[in-house]
Symmetry: C2
């Protein structure tokens, strides 16, 4: 089974949470928008689906996924992982296990939106420079209140998982663990000073990030050109003036 | 089967999307935090679960749901509806149908977060009065850019649904339709002037809102004391100074 992933070609963004799952499972997939437009791929192919050319239920925004040869377009990052999880062996098979992983993934999605809004608190269609003053206030609140709350929550989930010492959901590595890896990596890029201070209090999250990074397929992916570097167009952005908590 | 819903007792908030599904299905449920604390219910009962007293995976925030007599706590509004949908007959049974409804529900969840942030663009822990200036900017952007985008998207989904003329997902009324009812009702409360202008261009959403409001169990619920009125502590709030688009 071949998967077609559709996401903006120049940023990690929300697509990265799906890429990590596909890479860890060594799945057969194509990253459509990063392939040549002259071969019918590229951003134009993504835009055609986004504009609803062939789907009864077109996506609101990238990322979205299609199983090659089928019509259904699956969108919303957490929904894509809900679909892929059992197929890639990255979640428990029981309904209870899938719901439990999914609610953690949705909480990560909320967290990621808050990260985005640290640099875009007024509107995604405006430049950062047009909302810099508000971004400073929102980031200060994020670093002082929200970031510790999210980190503390997930640290406790690891501590309380009776099934497996060190992961978030179930006995084995799940897509939620891969997503937490991405959150820690991104937060280190965006808020290095704040994270250096907070990581000391969250050793389980640090250890989980390290273990995911060392998984052979993830390590190979991170070292490859398929991994787009963090940059100032993505969701995680490094503006030193925003990294100023406490 | 009896469901226990846990949510803040004095606002509609995110809990209302679950209440509407339970009410429409005439499900056997208790709204735990609205019952007396002296009987072991009330907000204290909710706080005990929120603080992880008995769950391996405690919720990040209300709402959450438990099937009476079981241990698993299901949280994140859209995840609760993913769980309840097939059990209440409010979604198609096929995996494709469930995923399709869920991705629309997740898009509604994103939309709702943006509504919340119109009055709290800096931080949920600060008073509105402490972020009023930023709220004016964010609301102007929301009313001019984001609200038309979301309304247009869902209007098109109704138009494109080949299965049923007038609903969002599948042939019959789904929990997504109930949630869109709530969005339209809340937006009318919060942004009456902007909505009066925009509704003209979105007749299918207006018709869907009207049809849901007329469903006998929903009509009975809306007329009952179980329906908490909109108020200035909820997610939808009416601040005239924020209702000023274009």
């Amino acid at each position: 089974m071949r998967y077609e992933l559709y996401y903006w070609p120049s940023i990690q963004g929300r697509g990265e949470f799906v890429r990590l799952a596909l890479e860890d499972a060594s799945a057969d997939y194509v990253d459509v928008a990063r392939l040549p437009a002259r071969k019918g791929m590229g951003t134009p192919a993504m835009m055609r689906l986004l504009e609803g050319e062939s789907a009864a239920c077109p996506p609101f925004a990238p990322p979205f996924l299609r199983v090659a040869g089928t019509k259904q377009v699956i969108f919303q990052t957490a929904n894509i992982l809900l679909f892929l999880g059992p197929r890639l062996g990255l979640v428990q098979k029981s309904e209870a296990g899938r719901l439990s992983a999914h609610q953690l993934q949705l909480t990560i999605a909320d967290w990621l939106t808050e990260v985005h809004d640290t640099h875009h608190p007024i509107g995604g269609g405006l430049y950062y420079e047009e909302q810099k003053r508000e971004a400073k206030r929102r980031s200060a609140n994020f670093c002082a209140e929200r970031l510790p709350k999210f980190l503390g929550y997930f640290e406790n989930i690891i501590a309380g998982n009776p099934r497996w010492n060190g992961g978030l959901a179930g006995r084995a590595t799940s897509y939620v663990d891969l997503s937490i890896f991405q959150m820690i990596a991104g937060l280190r890029y965006a808020f290095p000073r704040t994270m250096a201070r907070l990581e000391v209090e969250h050793p389980r999250l640090v250890a989980l990030h390290q273990r995911i990074a060392a998984r052979p397929r993830i390590a190979a992916y991170l070292a490859s050109k398929r991994r787009i570097p963090f940059n100032q167009s993505g969701i995680f952005r490094h503006y030193p003036e925003l990294d100023v908590a406490g």
